[in-house]
Amino acid sequence: MNLFDRFRAKFHGGIQPVEWKETANCPIQRLALSEQYILPMKQHIGQECVPLVAVGDRVLRGQKVARSQAYVHAPIHAPTSGIVRKIADNPIPHPSGLGMLSLFIEADGLDEEKKMPCLADYRNIDPVLIREQVRMAGITGLGGAGFPAFIKHRRDDEFPVHTVILNGVECEPWLTNDHRLMLEHGQQIVEGLDILMHVVGAKKGIIAIESNKPDAALNIQQCIADFSQDMEVRILPTRYPQGGEKQLIQVVTGKEVPAGKLPLHIGVLCQNIGTVKSIYDAVVLGKSLTERVVTISGPQTPRRGNSLVRIGTDLSFILSQHGLTDLSEVKVIHGGPMMGELLPNLHVPAVKSTTGLLAWHTAEFEKSHEQPDPCIHCGHCVQVCPVKLVPNELASHCKHDDTERAQAYHLFDCIECGCCSYVCPSHIPLVQHFRYAKGMVAQQAREQKFSEESRQRSEAHLQRIEKEKEARAARRAKVLAKQKALEEK
C-alpha cells in the first residue's frame, strides 16, 4: 500500500449497531439428524439445477443429486444417505414465500458418505484440478450472497491476482458462525487460504478480522505463525458493513473495485471464512458441501448457539432443537438483522446461504418497523452510505417510479446494506424502495425484450408474406409470359 492508498484505506460512512454477539461463546454443535431433507434446486446465484436422481433412488451423503449445464451454477449434493421420496415444488426461505422444484430425501439414519478423491498434497497439483474439485463440491459463497466459489478462482494472465483476502469481518449483529469457525478451525482456515493462494497464484494472503473478535484474531495469528510467511492478520475497527466485499477490499487495499468490474480486475480475491473452510474440506478431505454453521439466536430463542446444520434441514426442526417450539407469536429472520429476510413460512429448508436464524417476538419485531414520517432531509443517510449514494433523493425517485432518474442516481450501485434505513429518523424503509425499483427495472427490461422480440417476429412475418407475394407474382408473370409466347406461336 502506498501512502495515498493508506489514506483512502477506510470505507465511507457505515454504522455501529449494538452487536448482540452473545453466541460468540457457544461452541459449534452438530445438530441431530433429521428424518427428512429438502433440497431446492437453486441455492446459488446462476442457473437452476436439474435433478440427476429419480424417485425411489437411494443416495449417499455427498452424492451429487442435481446439476445444470450452465457455467454459473453450483451442483447440489445429498446431505445424508437415504431414499429420494418426492421431486416437487416446495417453498424456499425467501420473503415471497414462493416455491421451487425440490428433492425430498428420507434419511435412513446410516449417514453413509461418498467422497471425492482427496487432494491433500494440493501444492503439487495443477490449480485447474483443484478449481474443478471446488466446483464439483458445489461450494458457494457462504457469507449470504451464494455466488459459486469456483468462478472467482479463475487464473487470468491479464489480471493476475496478487492478494487473497479472507473475510472474517462478520459485521452483522447477532451472527457469530465465522467467529466460531476461526476459533475452532483456525488451522483448516489457514490451510484453506493456502489452497486459494495456490489456485490463483497469489503472493499474499490477508485475513481481515474486526476488533470485536480479539480471540479469533489471536488464534489465527498463532496458526499462521507455524504455517506461512506470506499471510497476515489484519485487525480492523468494528464498523458495519465492513464485511461487504467492496468495502473490505477498500479497507484492506485502499483501492476501490471499479463500477461494473470484479475484484479480480484489481488483482484481489475475497472469500468468506465459512467458504474457505468448505474449500479445505473439499480439497483436502474430499467432502462436498453438505453442511454449514448457522447461528441460531435472537431474543425469542431459548437456547442460542451455533449449530453445524445439514443443508436441507427443516428450519422449524433447527429452531425446535434450540428450544423454540411454539412458533405462533414469532418472527424469524433468515440471515442477519441488517440484510436478512423475514420468513413468512418456517417449514422451509436450510440452504447454502443460511447464515443465521434470528427469532423475535412478533410485537417486539413490529416495533422496529414503525410507520414512516416524511423525509426531513437530515442527510444522515448520505453520511452513512458506504457507496456514497444520496439515499433520500434516490428513494424519492424510486417512490415516484422514476426508474430513469433512479438509475442516473446509481440505483444499481446500492448494496442494500441497510445503513440508511437504520439511521433514518423518519423510519423511511429506503432499502425497500430501492429493491422495489430494482425489481421494476428488471421487469421493464423483460417487457422491453419481449416486445422487441414480438416486433422482430412480426416484422419477419411481414417480410415473409411480402416475399411470398413477390414469388407468387413472379410465378404468375412467368406463366403469363409462357402463355403469351404460346399464343404468339
Binding site: 420473503p95 476501490e256 429472520i333 423475514l342 418497523h369 453520511q383 449514494l389
Partner: protein, 344 residues
C-alpha cells in the same frame, strides 16, 4: 411485508426536534436574562400560537395529528420568537408564528416539504410589512437602567399588550451595531469613527450585551447550543464553517483594501444574526443540502450574500435574506453536488 434492515438506530424526528430545542436553551436563557419577563412573554406567545396554528392546519387539511407531538411546531415557534426584536407587540408575535407555520410550512405540504426556512420567511414578511416595529431595538437590561424594568412582570405585560409610549420610546431603544455603522457610513463617517461612537466592544458582542433580536445577540450562548448539535450529529460542520469563513474572508479582504469603508471581519462575525443563522437557520435540515459538497457551496453562497447585503444594500443585516435566497437553490445544489459513487 417487512423489509430489511430489521433493527433501527432509535433516532426519530421527535428526538431531533427536542435536541434542537435543548440546543436553543442557552440563547433563550440569555434573552430572558437580558430582556426579563418581556422575552418570556414574546417567546411563550410565539410557541403557543405556533402549536395552535399547526393544530388548526392539520385539522383543516386532514393530515395526521401525530406530527403535532413531534415538537416541530414548538421549535418553529421558538425560532420565530428568537429572531424577533423584544419590543414587538403581541399581535405581531402571533402573526409571525402563524405565518411561519401556515405560509412557511403547512401550505407547502407540512414538515419536510417546505422550501424555505419557516421562521426566517415569517421574519422577512414582518420586516417588509412592519419595518418600524421590526427595527426598534430595546437596550438590554444590564447595560443601563432603561425606562422599562424588564424584571417587573406587570410592566412587561403592559408593554407587550399596549406597546411603549412614544415619549418613552427613545429612552428604551438603541440601534444595533450593524445599523449604527450603516447609518454612520451614509453620513460620511469612517468605520472606526462609527465603532467608537457606538462604544463598540467585541467581547460585549460575543457575550451578547448589545441590541438585537432576542436570540441573536449572544454568540457565546449560540456556540454552546451549536456544540450540542454538532456533538449529536444533528448538524455537520460544513455549512456554519463555510458560511462564517466566507463572511470573514470577504470582510478581511475588503477591510485591508479600504478600512474606512469596510468593517473588519471580527465585527461582521460577531454582529447581527450571522452566528445564529449559520448554526441554526442555514443548517435547518429540511431547507439545506444533504451532501457535504453541497453544504459547503450553500454555506459559501450564504456568506457572500450576507456580506453583500450588509455592505451594499439598504438593510443593515442580510443573514436571513441570504439563507432564504440560498434555500431556493438547494434542489439544484443537491443535484449537482452529489458525492462520487464508490468505484465510479
Amino acid at each position: 411485508m417487512f423489509s430489511s434492515p430489521h433493527i433501527h438506530g432509535g433516532d426519530s424526528i421527535r428526538k431531533q426536534m427536542l435536541t434542537v430545542i435543548l440546543a436553543l436553551m442557552p440563547a433563550t436563557f440569555m434573552s430572558v436574562y437580558l430582556f426579563g419577563w418581556l422575552a418570556c412573554l414574546v417567546l411563550t406567545c410565539c410557541i403557543l400560537s405556533s402549536v395552535l396554528s399547526e393544530y388548526i392546519c392539520l385539522k383543516l387539511m386532514d393530515r395526521r395529528k401525530r406530527s403535532l407531538l413531534d415538537g416541530s411546531a414548538a421549535l418553529t415557534g421558538l425560532f420565530v420568537g428568537l429572531v424577533l426584536p423584544v419590543l414587538v407587540p403581541w399581535w405581531m408575535a402571533i402573526l409571525g408564528s402563524a405565518l411561519a407555520i401556515v405560509l412557511g410550512k403547512q401550505l407547502y405540504g407540512g414538515l419536510g416539504y417546505n422550501p424555505f426556512n419557516p421562521a426566517l420567511t415569517a421574519r422577512i414578511i414582518l420586516l417588509i410589512s412592519f419595518p418600524v416595529y421590526m427595527t426598534s431595538w430595546a437596550i438590554p437590561m444590564p447595560l443601563e437602567q432603561a425606562a422599562i424594568n424588564f424584571y417587573d412582570f406587570s410592566a412587561c405585560w403592559q408593554v407587550f399588550f399596549t406597546g411603549v409610549s412614544a415619549s418613552a420610546f427613545d429612552a428604551v431603544s438603541m440601534a444595533t451595531p450593524l445599523g449604527h455603522v450603516k447609518t454612520a457610513l451614509t453620513q460620511q463617517q469612517t468605520v472606526s469613527e462609527a465603532l467608537a461612537s457606538y462604544q463598540y466592544q467585541p467581547w460585549q458582542a460575543f457575550i451578547g450585551l448589545e441590541a438585537g433580536s432576542l436570540g441573536e445577540t449572544s454568540v457565546l450562548a449560540i456556540l454552546l447550543g451549536a456544540a450540542l448539535l454538532l456533538g449529536r450529529n444533528l448538524i455537520s460542520w460544513h455549512i456554519p464553517t463555510a458560511y462564517i469563513l466566507t463572511v470573514a474572508l470577504l470582510a478581511t479582504v475588503f477591510n485591508l483594501i479600504e478600512p474606512d469603508r469596510y468593517a473588519p471581519a471580527l465585527f461582521h462575525v460577531l454582529a447581527g444574526g450571522l452566528v445564529l443563522c449559520a448554526f441554526f437557520m442555514a443548517t435547518d435540515p429540511v431547507t439545506s443540502p444533504v451532501t457535504p459538497i453541497g453544504q459547503l457551496v450553500f454555506g459559501i453562497g450564504c456568506g457572500v450574500i450576507t456580506w453583500c447585503i450588509r455592505t451594499y444594500a439598504n438593510y443593515p443585516e442580510g443573514a436571513m435574506f441570504a439563507v432564504v435566497v440560498m434555500n431556493c437553490a438547494v434542489p439544484l445544489i443537491d443535484h449537482y453536488c452529489r458525492p462520487r459513487v464508490y468505484g465510479r
